[in-house]
Amino acid sequence: MAPRQEMNKLPKGARTGFDEVALGYTWEQARAEAERCLQCRSPQCSKGCPVGVDIPAFLQAIVHGNIGRAYQILQDQNRLPAICGRVCPQETQCEGRCILAKKGEPVAVGALERYCADWARQHYNGTLNRADSGQAKAGQKAAVVGSGPAGLTAAADLAVAGLEVTLFEALHAAGGVLRYGIPEFRLPKDIVDYEIGQIRDLGVSIQPNYLIGKTLDIPDLFSQGYGAVFIGAGAGLPNFLGLEGENLNGVYSANEFLTRVNLMKAFRFPEYDTPIRVGKRVAVIGAGNVAMDAARTAVRLGASEVSIVYRRSRAEMPARLEEIVNAEEEGIRFQLLTNPLEVLGDENYQVQGLRCQRMQLGEPDGSGRRRPQPIPDSAFVLEVDTVVVAVGQGPNPILIRSNPNLQLDARGYIEVDPDTLMTNIPGVFAAGDIVTGAATVIAAMGEGRRAARSILEYLDCSS
């Protein structure tokens, strides 16, 4: 068996700006990698894909040199292939189930997905979208709230079925976390623009600056003739740790830090008006993908020393291995088994340091991970001038507060019927982070697709 093709990456020394780090495959690499697929008789890879892409078929098309066909196969199930090829955790999904994974080198499905989508973007310029046979009656309308991965997927599926779909977005640009959360060097925004444009071309009307719950409410949508409403409003208020000093100057939530840079383009200040202030030494609390994004962003904004501070050990870090490796390559330090205790500041409320203590792993806790316990007398001060808190977020508060009838679960997320994804309000469906809590782009897409199917049934226009 030929070895797995490694994707070319921007050399470490060249990663000073916000250019994309992963460079994708050449045609030779793509063909060689696709040829590694054994075309299993009962392929497991597709079962690991939340949107059910026919992976062996698209790999086969690449082997045959028919990239257009490969892209079509991808598009049949996944409306955002260039995005997913970049940000999906393939190692726990399709690639994790690949028969070759048993020997440690699964087929690089993600890199090949990206290859096909990038090829199509450069060569086909948007002519590949299928116009499916519409089942909807003329004038049937559906409203989609939130234009992140769940909302985009639901909107596309509903539009393909022939519904008139309006996609309401609170911010000035569509994409949700793809827009404000994931940095340019991991997901270039022209790719986000392109794939959202594809969905717009399906007939989805995208309305920015509409905050549902404020500008319009759910009952307004029904009275405007929308037969069903899909809520994919995503995550909301960032979690903080409740540490002393967390409101000092120089403490950001990861949401704010990344939104300033990604949505508002603060990395191009003063060409863009929105500023961001990053000191020389930065601590990022947390070890998920968002934490890696924040740490790598801080380096690019000129910080000379950036540390990930995480209370468990490397094995428990929730970030993808690929992102951890990228962070290490870019000089991020890992303060593992380190628990932050207090943010220290000066008389001007400016961050001066992060007091931490060292931890050791004890018995497994409720999550099955070994519980970190403090090592006595191990407190020390990490000298930093900026702290980014990347420890997750709660559900978006606005839609929930303005709809007190909406039934919530014990954690405050929207409760849905597990089969139909309908909320307790008839005709209102929900999926994505506002139901599950923080998850992945592809998980939200899979649930958005399931909700769209239910909506079609609810509106009596499923095929």
Binding site: A170, L171, H172, Y180, P208, N209, Y210, L211, K214, T215, L216, A235, G236, L237, P238, F240, E246, N247, N249, Y252, S253, N255, E256, T259, R260, L263, M264, K265, F269, P270, E271, Y272, D273, T274, P275, R277, N348, Y349, N396, P397, I398, R401
Partner: protein, 275 residues
């Protein structure tokens, strides 16, 4: 989002009437919007200083301080905002209180006006106190006088009304009147002082905070303030809070975080103007 009317109220202070029917239809006193005037502009939170659901218009008052706000103030009638998002924030609960003293400082009269107007319509007696650095900066006085039973002014330089602070006027009113509530909106030190004066007289107070903000929709957490010892988010929990519970010292320290960067941006902006 077209600008229907523009009026320069004072130096660097401009009032716009903007066509925004969706926002006007849902607007209540205390709401604000976030606007952007161009692709490279900042998201700027502006209070809804008045609204007319029937006409589909909202009134915004913008103080040109940073680069984006200065450029906004150069927009003219028939120009348009690129984005207007709202109405945002929790509306101010308009109840029958009895006698309400409205203490406005500087631009604070803009968020004050819709509250005072609604309170007056509910039958409250409005006592309007307004302060500014000098006479020319006392804006929207006619609008406030039209809904108030009593009005008094102060200026730092004595160019109109009492020379001194508006809180001096508040102290006098509270000494002589039975007051049910004080609303104080203006610069942070003024609000903090007004809250203290009200508390001295055993009167509850409400303030409206104007923190740093990015999305305004409860996502970024940049607008967090400490109220009653707990972190609150100005965009979704405010902007109005019980004055006596607000940690003003913290807000005062957080407010200037980007000031030197704003200066740098403005400097660049002027260089571009020069050519």
């Amino acid at each position: 989002m077209n600008i229907l009317r523009k009026e320069v109220l004072a130096q660097d202070i401009v009032r716009f009437a903007v066509a925004a029917p969706q926002v006007a239809a849902k607007a209540e006193p205390g709401h604000f919007v976030i606007v952007r005037h161009k692709e490279m502009g900042e998201r700027i939170p502006l209070t809804i200083a008045d609204f007319d659901a029937e006409a589909g218009t909202i009134t915004l008052v913008c103080h040109g301080i940073g680069r984006s706000t200065r450029e906004i103030n150069e927009l003219n009638e028939a120009d348009a905002f690129l984005d207007v998002l709202g109405p945002l924030g929790e509306p101010y609960p308009v109840r029958h209180e009895g006698t309400v003293v409205c203490v406005s400082g500087g631009l604070g009269v803009a968020p004050m006006y819709p509250k005072a107007k609604a309170l007056a319509a509910k039958g409250n007696k409005i006592i309007h106190l307004q302060g500014a650095q000098r006479k020319e900066l006392l804006i929207m006085t006619q609008e406030m006088e039209a809904i108030s039973e009593q009005s008094a002014y102060s200026t730092d330089d004595g160019s109109l009304g009492r020379r001194g602070f508006v809180t001096d006027l508040l102290r006098e009113v509270l000494a002589g009147e039975d007051v049910d509530e004080v609303i104080a909106i203006g610069p942070l030190p003024m609000m903090a002082a007004a809250v203290d004066v009200a508390a001295e007289h055993g009167v509850s107070s409400v303030v409206s905070l104007n923190t740093l903000m990015v999305d305004g929709t409860g996502m970024c957490g940049g607008c967090r303030v400490t109220v009653d010892g707990q972190t609150k988010f100005c965009c979704v929990d405010g902007p109005a809070f019980d004055g006596s519970a607000v940690d003003f010292k913290e807000i005062l320290k957080r407010q200037p975080f980007y000031r030197d960067m704003e200066r740098k941006s403005l400097h660049r902006c002027r260089l571009e103007e020069v050519g």
